[in-house]
Symmetry: C2
Subunit: 265 residues, 2 copies
């Protein structure tokens, strides 16, 4: 599968695959379509059910279904009964007629800054697209309210997506873009992800038989609260954060020092 670069001289409109992790019925998905529908030919392949926190999980031990839904603003909409990665993989295999030029994932309902990329299904889809050689970008809105108005961020997403389409990313690079909830951000900054972890908190309940069960809660602990080059910093200053992401998690700087400890002849 060679990457079909968009060649504007041939007047072929780029094919844009839109997906998300909040599911095919999420308002943010429609806002994503609205933001990019003028940039090319758009097709939606999104999870049938919400898939928040599904990371790069894929379905290995169960079958998948594809369903087509009502068009949205002239765009065909499909769902897959799996994870965001399943949507990308099965979408490429069985739904799209040619390899997409771009993949846009979102607009996610809530932040994916800091190390949320590790758990984010939104970014799982982006990393999958990138691994497949597609120029892929995830968008998240820092708004957890059910009443979040994605239309306000749609113009910002359109501006950034246009920059992506006119300046496609290099192979093996993708982007994690987070947008502050305020209507008018100060601007946008390319930056690194803040190092941190989630406070491991669980609510403990007792079922009617008196047996305990647990429900995840907790919040992100920024381990670098004083750093001024992280996504957390720029978001706190009401800027959009744009983090370049690599699917390759090799820590290259550790190869030489670790060789002294772990190489065995």
């Amino acid at each position: 599968m060679a990457y079909i670069m968009n060649d504007y001289s041939k007047s072929i409109r780029p094919l844009i695959l839109v997906t998300n992790d909040d599911g095919v019925r999420a308002p943010g998905l429609k806002a994503m379509v609205d933001a990019v529908k003028d940039l090319g030919e758009v097709i939606v392949v999104a999870p049938a059910q919400p898939q928040s926190g599904q990371s790069s999980a894929l379905s290995v031990n169960k079958p998948l279904r594809i369903n087509e839904h009502e068009d949205y603003n002239g765009v065909r909409v499909f769902s897959v009964t799996g994870t965001p990665v399943d949507c990308v993989k099965l979408g490429l295999h069985s739904i799209v007629s040619r390899k997409p030029d771009f993949l846009f994932s979102g607009i996610n309902h809530g932040s994916n800054s800091g190390n949320a990329i590790t758990y984010s299904g939104t970014m799982g889809a982006v990393i999958e697209g990138c691994t497949e050689g597609i120029c892929s970008v995830g968008f998240s809105l820092l708004h957890h309210s059910l009443a979040a108005d994605f239309s306000l961020s749609s113009e910002l997403v359109k501006e950034l997506a246009t920059r992506v389409v006119t300046n496609p990313l290099t192979t093996h690079q993708c982007l994690n873009i987070n947008i502050p909830a305020k209507v008018v951000p100060e601007g946008a900054r390319v930056c690194r992800a803040a190092i941190g972890h989630w406070s491991e908190q669980y609510e403990r309940y007792l079922d009617p038989q008196g047996k305990p069960f647990y429900w995840l809660t907790g919040r992100f602990i920024n381990e670098e609260p004083n750093a001024i080059d992280t996504d957390e910093y720029w978001l706190s200053k009401n800027y959009i954060s744009v983090v370049p992401v690599t699917p390759d998690q090799t820590l290259f700087s550790a190869i030489d020092p670790m060789s002294k400890v772990f190489n065995i002849s």
Copy 2:
């Protein structure tokens, strides 16, 4: 939660958390315990059901249960009704009495080389442990047969785990170790993960009502078949591969060039 460094001068044995993604009943889990039980105080917290391909997925929209199982060779064994990341998070919160000094995940039934780290539940647990400040290592055996004999690899895992315990990793570093299926590897090499992707193949079936469904298949496509510094290369030469892994997926080298395109004042 401060990281309690093991201080041998105080004769406190390190606490070792063992987990996996093949589930609490997997033979590889017992082999993992056998390999590390002499290195400290061991406790097992593993998924109640197999979780292959679950990556760093976590359960946000469902409750979790903890169950205790029969001891294995004097080691207490717990299961969590969720993903490998759920095991680490809930294990730290509600099962272990103090923060573990080490986390060993595996021995996985099958390879996690190349970009399998993206999808691997084995490595999802490792990255979670690392993010929590625990020295964390994943082990996988390149053997997909149900009859895989993990006892043969247990000595190799013990040798490598001993090196980890006597040379704890720096914070924000973890390891992805793959072991060839042959009984006696040539040795071990610290190296990088091969860049590649999975061929997107699905078997297509028709259900009794004639409606199609799909089941994932496919194989890893090494995009660097001629590189001689990757895990795929060393495994092909019958060496154990040891890949240093970072949870932080920021592509630092892209921050400056991308700033010219995406920074907005």
